[in-house]
C-alpha cells in the first residue's frame, strides 16, 4: 500500500463558492440532485448523498441585534464548510458490506466497486456520518471515491483542484495532520480561539478520518456527529449476546418439549 492520502478542509478559508461541488459532478458525471429551494441560507443541496459527494454547508449565526439597526461583522457570522466522505480508518460502510463492493484502495481510501455492489443497502445505515446512499432507480450506492481515477495518475482530486482558496487541501495524511495542528496554533494566537480540529485524532471512534476538518464551532452545528463511533466496534459483544440468546431459545424449546406431560 502506498502512502495514505486524504483531505484537510480548512473551513476558515472557505468562501462558499461551491466550485468543489460543481467540479466533483463534472469530473465524476454525478447527476444533479434535484432543483429544490431549501430556504436554508445559500444551501440548496442540503446534505451529502448518492448524487452529492461534496456538500457546502452554510450556517448563519447572529447575536441578537436591536432594530435600531447598525451592526458590524461582529454580530453576524457566516460559517461555510465543504463536507465529504471521511474515508474512515475504521469504515463501517466497508466493514458491513457483504459483497466486498466497498474496498480500501492502495491509497487508504474507501471506494465502492459499482459492478459488485448489489444494492443491499447495508452500508447506508452503517455510516455514522450519513454519507453513502442509494441512488433512486439505480439501486446501487454512491459516494466520494476520493477521485480514485485521478490520484491514480498523480492528479489531485477535482474538488481540491477547483478550490480557489486552498480551503480543501489534499495530500499525504500525516503531513496534512501536522499542517493542520500548526494552523490551529496560528489561529489561536490570532485570537480565533474557537478553531478546533475534527477527525484528525487516530484514537477517535472511527480511528481517525482520512478527510478531516478545521471547524469554528461544534461539529453538530455543521451537521456532523460530535463523537462518531464505528458500529462494528461492538460487533464481537453483539455476537456473544446473540449466542447467549440462541442458547436461551434452545433451552426454551427443550423445556417446553420435555418439561411437561404430553
Amino acid at each position: 500500500m502506498t502512502e495514505r492520502v486524504g483531505f484537510f478542509t480548512d473551513t476558515t478559508l472557505c468562501i462558499g463558492c461551491k466550485a468543489c461541488e460543481v467540479a466533483c459532478k463534472e469530473w465524476n458525471h454525478v447527476p444533479d440532485d434535484g432543483l429544490n429551494f431549501l430556504g436554508q441560507s445559500y444551501d440548496n443541496t442540503g446534505e451529502l448523498g448518492a448524487s452529492t459527494w461534496r456538500h457546502v454547508a452554510f450556517i448563519e449565526q447572529t447575536k441578537p441585534i436591536d432594530i435600531e439597526g447598525n451592526g458590524s461583522a461582529g454580530d453576524v457570522r457566516w460559517l461555510m464548510s465543504s463536507d465529504v466522505c471521511k474515508h474512515c480508518t475504521h469504515a463501517a460502510c466497508l466493514e458491513v458490506c457483504p459483497t466486498g463492493a466497498l474496498f480500501r484502495t492502495e491509497f487508504g481510501t474507501v471506494v465502492v466497486q459499482q459492478d459488485v455492489c448489489n444494492g443491499c443497502g447495508y452500508c447506508v445505515p452503517a455510516c455514522p456520518f450519513g454519507v453513502i446512499d442509494q441512488r433512486e432507480g439505480d439501486g446501487r450506492v454512491w459516494k466520494c471515491t476520493l477521485c480514485y481515477d485521478r490520484i491514480g495518475v498523480a492528479l489531485e482530486p477535482a474538488c481540491a483542484k477547483a478550490c480557489p482558496t486552498k480551503s480543501i487541501q489534499f495530500g499525504p495524511l500525516d503531513e496534512l495532520r501536522t499542517q493542520a495542528r500548526e494552523r490551529v496554533g496560528e489561529l489561536h494566537e490570532r485570537g480565533v480561539t474557537e478553531a478546533r480540529l475534527y477527525g484528525d485524532d487516530p484514537s477517535d471512534g472511527v480511528g481517525g478520518m482520512g478527510a478531516f476538518f478545521l471547524l469554528l464551532d461544534d461539529p453538530e452545528v455543521y451537521g456532523l456527529p460530535p463523537d462518531p463511533v464505528v458500529t462494528t466496534r461492538d460487533l464481537a459483544a453483539m455476537w456473544k449476546a446473540a449466542g447467549a440468546a440462541a442458547l436461551a431459545m434452545g433451552a426454551a424449546v427443550v423445556v417446553s418439549v420435555f418439561g411437561g406431560r404430553g
Partner: protein
C-alpha cells in the same frame, strides 16, 4: 479612472493585492464574483492585512472580511467623501506624493463655483440643455476658449477611458504650499468640509465608530512603508453618479499616495471575461480603438486639426497622430495615403447618442429597423426588461448570436408580456434569426481580463454543426457585403470596398486566423510586415499600421505573447511578467513611476517597485517601468518640448497633459470636477447636503414604458418605502444564459429569491422559504423569501430603512426559471457612461405570489394610482 489617472483600466492587478496592508472592498462582492482572484485577498489576510467590506448586505465576501460595514445603497459618495474630509482635516495625506504627483497645487479658474456656493450645482449649469458648460472648471490660464469652442472635445466621459484633452498648455499657476484659496487642495477641503462622521451616519446609516474605524485603518495603512488597495465593481458604477463614486476613491488613493505602488491602487473588477477588451478595442459606439475619440458628423475639421483638438501637447497623447494614422493604415492599407489624409474621411462619424438604451427607445418609436445581439441578453440583463422586450418586438429583424436560445431571442412566444397579453405572438412583426455561436473553448482568441491582461485561449474542440465563431461571422459577413458591393461606383461604398479584408483563413469552416488579427492589432511596419515592438515604434508618416495602439507590443518579435503560460511559481517576482501579456507594454502596476520618490528612489524598501538606475541611466525594477525608460528623474522640459518629453522627470501620470494624478477634473466629465453626494434617482430620503436632490445631469426618459417611482419630496413617495438593490450569486452568471441552462449550477440556486431582514419580514408578514411579490411602477415580480440577519435595517436620517436584496439572474428560459429583477428597475442613467441605475431604487414588498396573467397589470396600475405616477 481615465479622467483621474489617464487610462480607463485597473491601476493594478489582482496578484498584487497580496502586498496590501489594508484592502477596502466596496461596491464589489469580490468573493462571489471574482472567487479565483479573491485568493489574493485571502493571501493578504493571511499576511495580516485588514480586509474591509462595505456593502448593503453581509455577503460571502463579508464573511471572510475582518470588518463588514453595512451601508445604504446609493450613498457611497457621502461615505467616501467623509474619508476625504477625515484625511484633510487631520492632515493625514501623503504630503510629498500629493504635492509632486497630483494636481493638488494647481490653481483653478477664478470663475469656478463649487456646490457649496450653489447649493448642489457647479458653475456653468444650463437649465434648458440640462447640461454643464464646463469652461469655468478649467485650470487658471488654461486655453479655455478652445475647450468651450470645440464640441469634439466636450463631454469626454469615462467611456473614453482617458483624461482631459482640453488643457493644451501646461497649467501656468501652481502653489506647492497648497495654501492658495483656489488651489485644488483648498477647493477639495472646502468641498468636503461638511462630510463629517455625523453626516455619514445620517446619510449612509453607518454608525460613527464604524466609519472612523475604516477611515483610520486606511490612513494608518498608507504612507511610505504601507499601502492600501481599493476593489470595486458594479456596486459603484451602476448609479446615476457611478463615475463619481470611482472618482472619490481615486481622490482618496491619490491623497494617501497609494497609486502606482505595490499593494496599492484601485482594482476595477470588470465583468464579462473580456469586458475590458470590449472597451479597449472597442465595441463602444462612440470611440475608436485605444480610446481615440470619434469624430462628430457636423465637424468639418481635417485630419491635422482633429489631431490637434483631440490630442495633447504633452504626455503620450502627444503621439495621437502616430496612433491614428497607423489605425487608418491598418484599416485601409495601401488606399490610405498622405494625399487622401490616410482615408480619414472614411471614418464613421457620430450623429448623436447611439448608446444601447437610447437605441432601444428609438426601436420603441419604430425608428430602428434591425438589431444585432451578439453575446448579450437585454431581455433579462437590462434595466426595465419590459421596455426592452417591447422594443425587440417592434423591430423588423433581429439577429441573435448566442450559445443558447436566450430570452432575447424567444420573447415573441414566452416573454412575460405574452402572459399578460401586452404582446400577442401573431402581432409581432420581428423576424428573428438565431445563429448559434461558438464558445471560447471552440475558437482561438484572447480575453482581456479585469487587470488589462490579454490571455490567449486555444480552440479545444471544433464547434458542432452550424455553430461558428463571432470572428468567422464578422469576417464572412464583411466578405459577402464586399462581394455584393463590388463594382459599385457609389462613393458611400468606397470605405467598405477599400478596406483591407484579407485575413488568412484556416480549417473546415474557413475561420479567419485569430493570430493574424492579433498581429494587426499589435501593429507592423508596412514595408516588411514585421510586428512592431510597441507603440513607441508607431509613426505618423504612414510607415506603420496598428489596429489598437494600446495593445501594441502584444505580438512583439512576431510572437503571440498573450499565449505565454509560465506559472508564477516558476518566475522571479510576484509580477510574473511571462504569464500572458498586459497592456500597456506588459506593465502590471501602471503609473509605477510613483512607486519611487521624485528623485527616483523607492519610497521605502518594503514597497519597492521601480526606480532610477544611475549607472545604467534608465528606469528599472520588478515591473516594467510605466515611464520613458531613459528620462532622468530631474529632467525639466523646455518650452518647445512635446509629448512625453513635455512632462517632467517626476510626473508619473504620463497620459495626462500635466503628468499629474487628478484630484480635481477640470474637464472630461459631464457632471462635475469633484464628486458630490446626490441621492439616487429614486430615493426615500432627502439630500441633507444640498437643495439639489439627485445628479442634475443624470439621463432620464419620461415616457409611458418607463415610469418612475416618486422620489422623496414628491407626493406618493411613501407608496414605495423600501430600498431595493441587485447583485450576483456565485452560482449563476449575469442574465443566466450560461448558468440557468446547466443542471449543476441550477441546482445550487434553483429559484429567484429575495433577501430581507427579520424586521422587514415581520413588518410585511414574509416567511422564510415562502413567496413575496416586489412591486415598482414598472411591474411586479415574485420571488422566494430568504429571511436573514445578513441584511440589516439601517437607521438613516431620522428613521429605520429596510433594504430588499435581489439577485438579477432569472428569466423565463432554462432549467431554473423565475422573474427578472430588472423588470422592476427604471431607465435612469449615469450621464458619462450611460450606465443604468440598478443598484439603488425604491419598491414595495408584500407576502405571497404575484397575480397571474393580466392581473399583474391591475396590481401595478393600482400602485401607480396610489403613487400618482400613472
Amino acid at each position: 479612472m481615465g479622467t483621474s489617472f489617464g487610462r480607463g483600466g485597473a491601476t493594478t492587478f489582482q496578484q498584487d493585492l497580496q502586498n496590501a496592508d489594508c484592502i477596502l472592498i466596496e461596491g464589489s462582492n469580490m468573493a462571489e464574483c471574482h472567487p479565483v482572484g479573491f485568493q489574493w485577498v485571502m493571501e493578504a489576510k493571511e499576511r495580516g492585512a485588514k480586509i474591509i467590506h462595505v456593502d448593503p448586505r453581509f455577503s460571502r465576501t463579508s464573511a471572510v472580511a475582518d470588518l463588514h460595514v453595512p451601508i445604504r445603497a446609493g450613498s457611497d459618495i457621502a461615505f467616501l467623501g467623509g474619508i476625504v474630509n477625515y484625511i484633510l482635516e487631520n492632515g493625514r495625506e501623503f504630503r510629498d506624493y500629493v504635492v509632486r504627483y497630483t494636481n493638488a497645487a494647481t490653481i483653478v479658474n477664478e470663475d469656478f463655483r463649487d456646490t457649496e456656493d450653489l447649493d448642489g450645482l457647479f458653475s456653468g449649469f444650463d437649465e434648458e440643455k440640462v447640461a454643464y458648460d464646463i469652461s469655468t472648471w478649467s485650470y487658471e490660464g488654461a486655453d479655455v476658449n478652445a475647450a468651450a469652442g470645440n464640441r469634439d472635445k466636450a463631454a469626454q466621459g469615462e467611456a473614453h477611458g482617458r483624461g482631459s484633452t482640453v488643457e493644451s498648455d501646461r497649467p501656468k499657476s501652481r502653489d506647492e504650499t497648497l495654501e492658495h484659496p483656489r488651489c485644488v487642495f483648498q477647493l477639495l477641503k472646502k468641498h468636503y468640509r461638511r462630510y463629517t462622521p455625523e453626516l455619514v451616519e445620517q446619510v449612509c446609516g453607518i454608525p460613527r465608530h464604524l466609519f472612523l474605524e475604516v477611515a483610520e485603518s486606511l490612513c494608518a495603512n498608507s504612507g511610505r512603508d504601507r499601502t492600501s488597495a481599493f476593489c470595486y465593481a458594479v456596486g459603484w458604477t451602476q448609479h446615476t453618479v457611478g463615475v463619481q463614486y470611482i472618482r472619490t476613491a481615486a481622490i482618496i488613493q491619490l491623497l494617501l499616495g497609494n497609486i502606482g505602488r505595490p499593494g496599492g491602487g484601485i482594482l476595477a473588477l470588470r465583468g464579462h471575461a473580456s469586458i475590458q477588451g470590449s472597451t479597449d478595442v472597442p465595441t463602444l459606439y462612440n470611440i475608436l480603438p485605444g480610446y481615440i475619440a470619434m469624430r462628430h458628423a457636423h465637424s468639418q475639421v481635417g485630419l491635422q486639426k482633429f489631431i490637434e483638438n483631440i490630442g495633447n501637447k504633452y504626455g503620450y497623447w502627444g503621439h495621437l497622430d502616430a496612433y491614428l494614422i497607423s489605425l487608418l493604415k491598418a484599416w485601409w492599407g495601401d488606399n490610405a495615403t498622405s494625399a487622401n489624409e490616410y482615408c480619414f474621411d472614411y471614418l464613421p462619424r457620430l450623429t448623436g447618442d447611439h448608446s444601447a438604451y437610447v437605441s432601444t427607445l428609438r426601436a420603441l418609436d419604430g425608428e430602428l429597423d434591425g438589431y444585432f445581439l451578439i453575446g448579450e441578453n437585454p431581455a433579462v440583463g437590462n434595466a426595465n426588461g419590459k421596455a426592452h422586450r417591447l422594443a425587440l418586438a417592434n423591430l423588423k429583424w433581429l439577429v441573435v448570436r448566442d450559445l443558447q436560445e436566450i430570452e432575447s431571442a424567444s420573447f415573441w412566444h414566452d416573454s412575460p408580456e405574452i402572459e399578460t397579453g401586452e404582446l400577442r405572438t401573431a402581432d409581432i412583426g420581428t423576424e428573428v434569426f438565431f445563429l448559434p455561436a461558438a464558445a471560447h473553448t471552440e475558437k482561438d482568441g484572447t480575453f482581456t481580463n479585469t487587470q488589462r491582461m490579454l490571455q490567449w485561449h486555444h480552440k479545444a474542440v471544433e464547434p458542432p454543426g452550424d455553430v461558428r465563431s463571432d470572428l468567422w461571422f464578422a469576417y464572412h459577413l464583411g466578405r459577402r457585403i464586399r462581394e455584393k458591393l463590388s463594382g459599385s461606383l457609389d462613393p458611400k461604398d468606397k470605405p467598405i470596398l477599400e478596406l483591407t479584408w484579407d485575413y488568412p483563413t484556416e480549417g473546415r469552416h474557413l475561420d479567419p486566423s485569430a493570430d493574424a488579427v492579433l498581429k494587426e492589432i499589435n501593429g507592423f511596419t508596412v514595408g516588411d510586415g514585421k510586428a512592431v515592438s510597441g507603440y513607441e515604434d508607431l509613426r505618423a508618416d504612414g510607415s506603420t499600421a496598428c489596429g489598437v495602439w494600446i495593445y501594441s507590443g502584444c505580438f512583439a518579435g512576431d510572437e503571440n505573447l498573450p499565449a505565454r503560460r509560465k506559472p508564477h511559481w516558476e518566475q522571479d517576482t510576484w509580477v510574473a511578467p511571462e504569464w500572458a501579456w498586459t497592456w500597456p507594454m506588459n506593465r502590471h502596476i501602471i503609473y509605477n513611476r510613483a512607486s519611487a520618490d521624485p528623485d527616483g528612489k523607492p519610497w521605502s524598501e518594503r514597497k519597492k517597485c521601480v526606480w532610477w538606475d544611475e549607472k545604467k541611466q534608465e528606469w528599472t525594477g520588478y515591473d516594467v517601468p510605466d515611464f520613458k525608460k531613459t528620462m532622468r528623474p530631474d529632467y525639466e522640459p523646455d518650452d518647445d518640448a512635446r509629448a512625453e518629453w513635455g512632462l517632467r522627470g517626476d510626473e508619473p501620470f504620463i497620459m495626462q497633459s500635466d503628468g499629474k494624478g487628478w484630484l480635481y477634473v477640470p474637464s472630461g466629465l459631464t457632471d462635475g470636477p469633484m464628486p458630490t453626494h446626490y441621492e439616487p434617482h429614486e430615493s426615500p430620503f432627502a439630500n441633507p447636503l444640498y437643495k439639489q436632490q439627485a445628479n442634475p445631469v443624470r439621463q432620464t426618459f419620461h415616457r409611458k414604458e418607463n415610469p418612475y417611482n416618486p422620489t422623496h419630496g414628491e407626493p406618493g413617495a411613501d407608496v414605495f418605502p423600501y430600498v431595493m438593490t441587485t447583485y450576483r450569486l456565485t452560482e449563476h452568471h449575469t442574465a443566466g444564459g450560461m448558468s440557468r441552462t446547466l443542471p449543476f449550477l441550477s441546482e445550487l440556486q434553483p429559484e429567484m429569491f429575495c433577501e430581507v431582514s427579520p424586521a422587514l419580514a415581520a413588518e410585511r408578514g414574509l416567511e422564510n422559504g415562502g413567496w413575496a411579490t416586489i412591486v415598482s411602477t414598472r411591474t411586479a415580480i415574485e420571488a422566494r423569501v430568504l429571511v436573514t440577519d445578513r441584511v440589516k435595517p439601517l437607521r438613516v436620517a431620522d428613521r429605520v430603512v429596510h433594504q430588499v436584496g435581489l439577485p438579477y439572474h432569472w428569466g423565463t428560459r432554462g432549467l431554473s426559471v423565475g422573474d427578472s429583477a430588472n423588470d422592476l428597475f427604471p431607465l435612469a442613467l449615469d450621464p458619462n457612461v450611460h450606465i443604468q441605475e440598478v443598484k439603488a431604487a425604491t419598491c414595495d414588498i408584500r407576502p405571497g405570489r404575484r397575480p397571474r396573467g393580466a392581473a399583474v397589470l391591475g396590481l401595478v396600475d393600482d400602485y401607480r394610482r396610489r403613487a400618482g405616477a400613472s
